[in-house]
Subunit: 131 residues, 6 copies
Amino acid sequence: MPTSLAVEYKDASPEVRAVFDDIKQTRKVDDVNNFWKYLARDPATLKRTWESVKQIMAPGALDPLTKEMIYLAVSVTNGCAYCTASHTAAARKAGMSEAMFGEVMAVTGMANETNRLANGYRVPVDAAFAR
Amino acid sequence: MPTSLAVEYKDASPEVRAVFDDIKQTRKVDDVNNFWKYLARDPATLKRTWESVKQIMAPGALDPLTKEMIYLAVSVTNGCAYCTASHTAAARKAGMSEAMFGEVMAVTGMANETNRLANGYRVPVDAAFAR
Amino acid sequence: MPTSLAVEYKDASPEVRAVFDDIKQTRKVDDVNNFWKYLARDPATLKRTWESVKQIMAPGALDPLTKEMIYLAVSVTNGCAYCTASHTAAARKAGMSEAMFGEVMAVTGMANETNRLANGYRVPVDAAFAR
Amino acid sequence: MPTSLAVEYKDASPEVRAVFDDIKQTRKVDDVNNFWKYLARDPATLKRTWESVKQIMAPGALDPLTKEMIYLAVSVTNGCAYCTASHTAAARKAGMSEAMFGEVMAVTGMANETNRLANGYRVPVDAAFAR
Amino acid sequence: MPTSLAVEYKDASPEVRAVFDDIKQTRKVDDVNNFWKYLARDPATLKRTWESVKQIMAPGALDPLTKEMIYLAVSVTNGCAYCTASHTAAARKAGMSEAMFGEVMAVTGMANETNRLANGYRVPVDAAFAR
Amino acid sequence: MPTSLAVEYKDASPEVRAVFDDIKQTRKVDDVNNFWKYLARDPATLKRTWESVKQIMAPGALDPLTKEMIYLAVSVTNGCAYCTASHTAAARKAGMSEAMFGEVMAVTGMANETNRLANGYRVPVDAAFAR
């Protein structure tokens, strides 16, 4: 096991540096987050994950802010502390106001509650929703 | 245990009917979904849940479509089949296109993946995200 | 893969029959549930699981009804359809009334909601709760 | 983003103070927990959540201790560190002994195990449990 | 919403057909599973997901059977019925015996149990595991 | 609540000491991990859990390394920080290389993603997988 588990740019292989450079350029940031530095321990996973994230989070039918709020809602549901912190920051950067944050949390909380009420009451799917 | 677990309008108490009426009027629908008919077995839970959902899902800093897509992302993450079916229908009714659906799924899937990569690599929260 | 995945008493080995007999005697039932018939494909897991369940669910500092309601709350939270069905039945057999069922669901739903609000707002543990 | 994320009583709006006062009076405590101070960033969520918790956790068909133990079992299942800490404290205050705590944990652990065994062995619901 | 939600080869675009062809060739099968036919509604997600799965599940430091058993353990933990069915089949095809299946389930069940015991007892990480 | 929540060997009852001794002898270690010291607050749970873990993790149809990697994948999926730390250490001790670790994480992440894609696209189980 390496002494340090984060791969810093100065110690990175050309393959890893190329991914770091693309992240920095795409996101217009000076350094990459810890997430990428840790993934860099496995360059294939780093590259594949970044390329998937880059493709998925690009503007499309949904704008970047909406995507970040969905990412945050999932991370909060799963209880991932790192992801909750990083995607709260990313959503704010993309324009999430304090009021929007409050509503994302309210919807996320309520969905988690009614998911269990539906499970517990064993509610059958309405014919209208079947497909 | 009652023979039928769903409470139909014709068999409902005045308290339950009042909630059903409010749901139908608010959502402009002819009948309520199975979810509400099953919750009606416990009128206090029916009333509280509906009032919370009504408040949370009303237009605010976020529009109803965005809220429904977040609700869907959480339901899919939790594997709630009923909620996935009902909120897919609700999101489509609120304007979710096929392309938007694809992007909600893509973001939800990726968030679930990177949540575990962050857990497994035990990535420490960046100082910049601490607060 | 065997044609039938459930092991019926008449086809069971003496080792499996001994566990089935103990389940039937302990629970005063004529046949064991599907859960045990499926686990019987792996006799070591069948025996270990039954002995653990028997020990844990016996009356102790908590009565059997309380234990069954906790089991149900966890099963609903995890979205296990089989376990929700079987432990709803078990809790009713142990004395859970319709009103109690409603309250178990209400607490389970609310806990799932506030768990996410605590995650999303990243609430630090109060000094008083630290230990 | 505000410098401090917890809303203290002295800085709170009248609307938030009214909720804090009701929590303190209902629970007979001198100050509210961090959970409520953080939720206070969104007064509508604070008020709705408190009113729901107050209604659900009041004595009913189940006593407060049973409700707190169910809350704890769900929080442990979801891995919510804040909620596990706060509801362990609440359950102890409501009368949970060390032996009861041990049994809540044992049932919670076993339910999480058998939920997955039922999933993995794909056990079909017994006809007797169907409804 | 399209009448049929699965995209069959005969109705597929050249882009989707290319992915289907690669799946069939890589896995030496006559047709692709429902999973791929449903994902084909979003060709970008179909292509990205297949390429990721193909890369990840190829023999590497771990053999394909080990990878399939890990995939199965995760799917069972999450309660994904589709994935449990498909990865049980895939693991058997890769060589998982009945005895191996029983052990995968036993480990998965026990991990889910001790994960909650560690949460509930709030066990601090041993200094030796810190890194 | 006891001042210290970990039970050290010198303070342990003969029943607890017997379990600690068996753990140390089986694993050839000088002291037991915090997990066991905390469980020792409930000697029945300590004994039952250790005996189950000892039986399940022994070499069988699967070797200890494979079992530890499955344990790790489940712990990462559930977001159990303690278990992720302890089973990463256990897997390394059993022979998990850095490359193997990367592949366990990659499979775990991808399974968590496709579990949700299958949920969200509501993919019906293929007839071939039904049993």
